[in-house]
């Protein structure tokens, strides 16, 4: 069975202005080893969802299973114990300001009742993993945002959790730092076998490290599957809105807009140039976001071609195995 399994979960908040349904009928299965992304706009309910996984928020309805245990059946003590197998990191880092980096990492170990010397030894190993061995005596106020998140990651990993919950963990960081934190998470997933659940509103976060993604919109999951699949062929409006470039590209008369998705194709193949030459069509590139990932092209491109030559272009794209979708 899955490491984390959510069945028909709903969460309603009772507020002065009436009930707010933060989550409705959520079903999700997260397998061991996954890097699972949950993406949605703010207010969609994603932060509530991640808090239901470790029962910081108690669902109004439905069940959360962690390692086959129904969390709502656990006693308070057992729940606290179960949380030690679930690390969590936050957008605001949430480090103890009055403790040094190493003491912050020791904190969950103190709670778990680990002896001080053992805790410090473990904390040093973790500082090494996150690349901050030289900052063990620094206080959070002396660290940069990226360094704070590294300490927070080390702290979340101290008790050897099975799963790491990341709540907008890179949203307060600049693009470069975001990339380095994401690669650290990926490394932790690969080397330590920790399952990672990432909550974000940024598609590039999902793209960079997730293997699976669930799209959440207005308290419901509207689409779920492998990142590759959803990126190539988004079905729901929300997924399209998140994946496609901002602002709809207007079609011009007699031209058809086509979205090309590159995944797994060789980077060294001059796709567009060949298209122009083989089909003898003027191709207009409206948008392009592609990159080279170890010799294969990844990303997307939006092009326009004259309506008359559409059949030729279709034929070419099918022959070369490029995923495409004609947009209206």
């Amino acid at each position: 069975m899955s490491l984390v399994s959510i069945k028909n979960l709903s969460k309603t908040f009772h507020t002065a202005n009436g009930d707010v349904n933060a989550l409705r009928n959520i079903d999700l299965n997260i397998e061991e080893g996954d890097i699972f992304g949950i993406i949605g706009l703010s207010g969609a309910g994603k932060s509530t969802l991640v808090r239901c996984i470790n029962f910081l928020e108690i669902p109004t309805d439905g069940t959360v299973y962690f390692e086959d245990k129904d969390l709502k059946e656990l006693s308070h003590k057992e729940l606290l114990k179960a949380r030690q197998s679930m690390g969590m990191i936050f957008q605001g880092f949430n480090l103890l300001e009055q403790r040094t980096a190493i003491k912050n990492i020791c904190f969950p170990l103190e709670i778990a009742g680990v002896a001080r010397a053992d805790a410090e030894k473990r904390a040093r190993e973790l500082l090494e993993i996150v690349g901050l061995s030289d900052r063990e005596r620094s206080y959070p106020s002396q660290l940069s945002g990226g360094q704070k998140q590294r300490v927070a990651i080390a702290r979340a990993l101290a008790t050897n959790p099975k799963v790491l919950l990341c709540d907008e963990a890179t949203s307060a960081l600049d693009p470069n730092t975001t990339r380095s934190i994401l690669s650290l998470l990926k490394e932790i997933n690969e080397k330590m076998g920790v399952t990672v659940i990432i909550i974000t509103h940024e598609m590039r976060v999902i793209e960079q490290i997730c293997n699976k993604v669930a799209v959440i919109d207005k308290s419901r999951i509207v689409e779920e599957g492998s990142v590759r699949e959803i990126f190539a062929n988004p079905q729901s409006d929300m997924a399209r809105q998140l994946i496609l470039p901002k602002g709809a590209i207007k079609s011009i008369d007699d031209f058809v807009t086509i979205r090309l998705v590159f995944d797994g194709l060789s980077s060294y193949q001059p796709v567009i140039a060949n298209l122009v030459m083989e089909c003898n069509v003027p191709v207009n590139i409206m948008y392009a976001d592609t990159k080279d990932v170890n010799g294969t092209a990844a990303g997307e491109m939006i092009i326009q071609v004259p309506e008359g030559s559409l059949d030729k272009v279709r034929g070419y794209l099918q022959r070369t195995g490029i995923k495409y979708k004609e947009e209206m």
Binding site: R83, G87, E97, S141
Partner: protein, 220 residues
């Protein structure tokens, strides 16, 4: 009155004032610290909301805080007699001082604890920390600089209260100021006691700020 006698008088007065102030502050914290923690923990946004406990405790604190100290001083004389055996002298003054300062300290502690970032508390909860863990390992240590600033304010407020006790034979510099300066029109003696009080307040303030600067790891 010769200088030596005056000096003895003032030194004894200072000693009594410090004894009353520091003793009352200590006891006020013995009562006020747990009360303040209970107030913040049982608050509706606290880690263990409990409306009944919070409201009852809140009302008691508010009642005690709304009675002017000079009234409280006289009103609880029977209680003071019961506890200390007399209502005169500096030890007796500690009783009304604690009764007035305890609730004041409770509110100061409550507000310091509430300043702790809720995100940090949530992080501790996500690690499986119990409420006791959170109180002793998160709330108090994280609020420490603010608690120290609060105690500096408390100690100077209590010092001010202690001089008021001079009116009812409370001892200390306040008694000297009232007995010599007010009843006998010896303004010079009153001035000296006031200067001594100013110096003591300055001293407490400075010590408090220094300790805060040294302990607060957010600013360095």
């Amino acid at each position: 009155m010769d200088i030596k006698m005056l000096a003895d008088l003032l030194i004894r007065g200072m000693g009594e004032t410090l004894y009353m102030t520091l003793g009352s502050t200590f006891l006020a914290y013995v009562i006020g610290l747990p009360m303040g923690i209970i107030l913040s923990v049982t608050d509706k946004n606290g880690i263990h909301p409990n409306a009944v406990v919070n409201t009852v405790l809140g009302v008691i604190v508010n009642i005690l805080r709304s009675i002017p100290f000079i009234i409280l001083l006289v009103a609880i004389i029977p209680v003071t007699r019961f506890i200390v055996g007399t209502s005169i002298g500096s030890t007796a003054t500690i009783v009304p001082l604690v009764a007035a300062a305890g609730p004041f300290v409770a509110r100061m502690v409550e507000s310091s604890i509430k300043e702790v970032d809720p995100g940090v508390i949530e992080a501790a909860q996500s690690m499986g920390a119990s409420n006791m863990n959170i109180i002793f390992k998160v709330l108090i240590p994280e609020a420490k600089p603010s608690l120290i600033v609060g105690s500096t304010i408390a100690v100077t407020t209590i010092l001010g209260y202690s001089t008021m006790a001079g009116f009812v034979g409370g001892g200390g510099l306040g008694s000297i100021a009232i007995n010599y300066g007010y009843y006998r029109y010896q303004t010079d003696i009153m001035m000296v006691t006031v200067v001594m009080l100013v110096i003591v307040v300055q001293l407490f303030q400075e010590i408090g700020m220094r300790i805060t600067r040294k302990t607060d790891k957010r600013i360095n």
